[in-house]
Symmetry: C2
Subunit: 531 residues, 2 copies
């Protein structure tokens, strides 16, 4: 299904998209039963990312009234997870006392039915069908993730008052709508640099909430850099006691205890977001070098560092102590990471010979493999003898083609398009500009297939990193991430021919009040016709 | 000094105010040395609340450079407090590592001098002089509060990058400026209803930060209502164990431990904000009535309540148990409240006779007096036999004239003008509208002297209450409070003839980027020409 044309309708937050034909994306998974469309059909919606297919009927709607309840149909093995998705939908719609009242209703009227059926293989790992009619809401998916994404689309079809749980006179009415939806890429991510400036757990959880709204599914945490080590490693207490004790600009820094990190992993998993832990090495390691003298070739601990230079630090790659520490770290992260990924960083190493560097990467890959972790690294690592199962993350001119040639997978994170810490324009106070200034349209009009050296088969997906040299609090992160991250989400989820700037900017405009309801400190880009 | 005319200058955030003459406000404290003004002088500033006098020189400025330091001159008794103000200014300007570097400088260049001299009685309790020249910044006040307010004005004269502590290439330059400033009213407050929906300590502290930016000095906390009791009373543990266990809509509720409350009181005091604790009684007490059966005339504990009706609950005013509890509460609050105020609420009592009600108020006043607390109540309490030292807070049609007649003081909080929980306009989803819809200009154009029955002598000041029926999180509170609270701050601080909507709206516009830098989820009123 392609969006062939669009025009703005009367009213600030209403627009019309004419769906005229079913098309094919670049190798999308096929839907088993594509809807029969009598062309043209007019639709009004603000769903981001744009679904594979959305058809809205005029003059019909479903009102979530005082006797509406949510029911779940799922096989035993997945019933708990499906029920948990239903519970989250209920929590969106109703306050706790109201949920309890509805749970006790003898005669529910309109119903919202969530069905999980693994036999619907055409819906794959994350796809769903959502049917809103005048009598109810039906959701079908083959996985809990698919159910969850259907509820996020439903949420975006509901008025903004759904985001104000205690708003007076809330009328939750949904236009009759049929959505069939599948993501383009399996990896749709964001990265937070909690090393240069630390962010408390609660703030990261809030960020996960916002990611889930846009069907993003990977949160990469940059957990260690020159300025700080942010994850407790029980066998190596100095990493946090010393290495976690400060940050850029000085001051207290901070770190996540393993208990907190587990809580975060579970919180994210409930929203179908996998936490990807990165411990950057062999460079960007001053915090560790300050914590343990033995990691330095001269056996002398480095002083803590609170500046923002890069490239000056490195593990002693000739020392067994280094690999003993890496092994301890990877082993403990494995126990914390049901996702099974370990990101080793590997970028911007300026003090080693190419041979030393490649040898180090090889050994870390071996440690990851020994711990049954799938290795990821910035694409600087591509010249090493990587396994094809290792994933490289492209960020600048690098050697990713080497990895593509060996059949490896690539995550697209080019700095000039996806780095959320770049300023929007010349007037932006926050952020940096070494990779350019990136307005919302610059992100949106980019496509992962434009990355030089990547092939369609090699592209696992996209990720937008947010480095924190200038970011001291979650409000700063939100300002830089939103609305650009919504654009990245659509780039990662929607087929290229299913998205167009001229529809996106109006859909995004309608998200302004929703983001404000969620308390998001978003940038009011002049490119977007905010209401 | 009066602002006689204004016009907008070229550029979105620049405007010109012509100061033409020295005038007199409605009984303002007089400055000993009014500046000699060669009329007209053009000034460009965005200071809120508008200072009594501000003169900016063209072509001169002070650059806070790498060797600028802050020095303090204060008598021994006040040196610690004055130094603490200087430390807060330093924390605004420089990250911790940078502060440490400057503290070790052998040869500081430009200086910022804070002088506290109690002999300058013309500056009273909260006034200050601020002189920025090309060679430095000089601040003079008679109290630590005055020093602090001078630093808040200086902050607002600095570019918005001052609010981004880690921004790259921050240039902190201040135009040469002379300010002499005194507040109109001693009571400039806001109220948060943490009873209907609870707010965590950290969020309230953030709110205090924002109040301080606008020189507000009273934070009234509505700590108990039908839906929740939010302050630990050690001698009455059920009040929080039971009464604090839920809130509007159900769910967990919450409360402040005495340790947390002390932390909040100290945090606010460091920003010259006094916390005013309110325990609403005899009505609005269902949470207490659910906690202790003996507070009910039928000796039966009430069920917890999570709705939003009012007027149905009351302490048993004939029972000694009631006064025993009130005594315990007031005694413990006294120990937590260096401000010495106790707010008894007293509003919307619908189940008692007038005689019963007045008798109850009399006894609570006696308990407050016995505990050396100054009593405050909503002006509903005025018909009781109040002491002239008791303060009444006007909110609707009430009997405040009775209290004015006995020489008592009044806080002006009319619902139709100052209630921050009222919607801005018909399009506002959050909030209520029973007292009207209140846009920024409605607040700004109002004046406390317009309150029927209040006299200039009786007016202690203004306060803007934010009731939380619809407010579930700090982002909601921020949306409703800002920018209206900035308008209230100017109403409370600036003489009536020193303020005008046409200058305020341009000054407020320039605060948009500053509020965004601070992560404030403020309402983008269409009345304000935001940049």
């Amino acid at each position: 299904m392609t969006i062939a044309s669009s025009r703005r309708a009367i009213g600030a937050a209403v627009w019309v998209i004419s769906l005229t034909a079913c098309g094919t994306g670049s190798a999308p998974p096929k839907l088993a039963n594509p809807p029969v469309v009598s062309t043209p059909i007019t639709v009004q919606h603000a769903v981001i990312p744009a679904p594979s297919s959305i058809v809205m009927a005029t003059g019909q709607s479903f009102l979530i009234d005082s006797s509406t309840t949510i029911t779940v149909d799922a096989p035993g093995a997945q019933r708990v997870e499906a029920q948990h998705v239903a519970d989250q939908l209920a929590a969106l719609l109703w306050a706790p006392a109201e949920r309890a009242r509805r749970a006790a209703l003898a005669a529910p009227s309109g119903t919202m039915q969530l069905t999980l059926d693994p036999a619907h293989v055409e819906l794959a790992e994350e796809g769903y069908r959502l049917d809103v009619t005048s009598t109810g809401v039906r959701i079908l998916a083959a996985t809990p993730a698919g159910l969850f994404y259907a509820t996020q689309s439903l949420r975006q079809l509901l008025p903004v008052s759904v985001e104000y749980p205690a708003a007076a006179q809330r009328v939750l009415r949904v236009n009759a709508t049929t959505i069939r939806d599948l993501p383009r890429y399996e990896w749709r991510g964001a990265m937070l640099d909690v090393a240069r400036h630390f962010l408390p757990l609660r703030d990261v959880e809030h960020f996960v909430d916002l990611m889930a709204l846009y069907k993003l599914n990977r949160l990469h945490l940059h957990l260690a850099d020159d300025q700080g080590w942010r994850i407790e490693i029980v066998s190596r207490p100095n990493l946090t006691a010393v290495g976690g004790s400060t940050q850029v600009g000085g001051g207290a820094g901070g770190y996540y205890s393993q208990r907190e990190y587990r809580e975060l992993v579970a919180y994210a998993a409930a929203r179908f977001v996998t936490i990807i832990p990165e411990i950057d090495m062999p460079g960007h390691t001053n915090a560790a070098l300050a914590s343990y003298a033995a990691l330095n070739c001269d056996n002398t601990a480095r002083p803590l560092y609170t500046g923002t230079n890069v490239g000056f630090s490195s593990f002693c790659v000739e020392s067994d102590s280094t690999y003993a520490l890496v092994s301890d770290v990877v082993r403990e992260l494995k126990a914390l990471s049901p996702g099974g990924y370990f990101h080793m960083g590997g970028d911007e190493v300026k003090t080693l010979t190419p041979t030393q560097y490649r040898g180090f990467v090889d050994r870390v890959q071996g440690i990851a493999t020994a711990n049954n972790m799938r290795l990821i690294g910035w694409a600087d690592i591509a010249p090493a003898r990587l396994s094809p199962t290792t994933i490289v993350q492209h960020w600048s001119k690098d050697s990713l083609a080497l990895h593509v040639a060996r059949g490896g997978k690539v995550i697209a994170s080019p700095g000039s398009k996806t780095y959320l810490d770049m300023k929007y324009d010349n007037a932006t106070t926050l952020g940096l500009s070494w990779a350019g200034r990136i307005e919302v349209k610059d992100v949106y009009d980019w496509d992962p297939t434009l990355v030089t050296g990547a092939t369609p088969e090699s592209l696992l997906g996209v990720e937008a990193p947010l480095w924190s040299e200038t970011v001291t609090k979650i409000a700063d992160a939100e300002f830089l991430a939103f609305p650009r991250l919504a654009a990245i989400a659509e780039v990662g989820w929607s087929e290229r021919n299913a998205r167009a700037w001229e529809t996106f900017r109006f859909r995004l405009a309608a998200h302004g009040p929703r983001l404000q309801a969620l308390g998001v400190n978003f940038y009011r880009s002049p490119q977007i016709p905010w209401p």
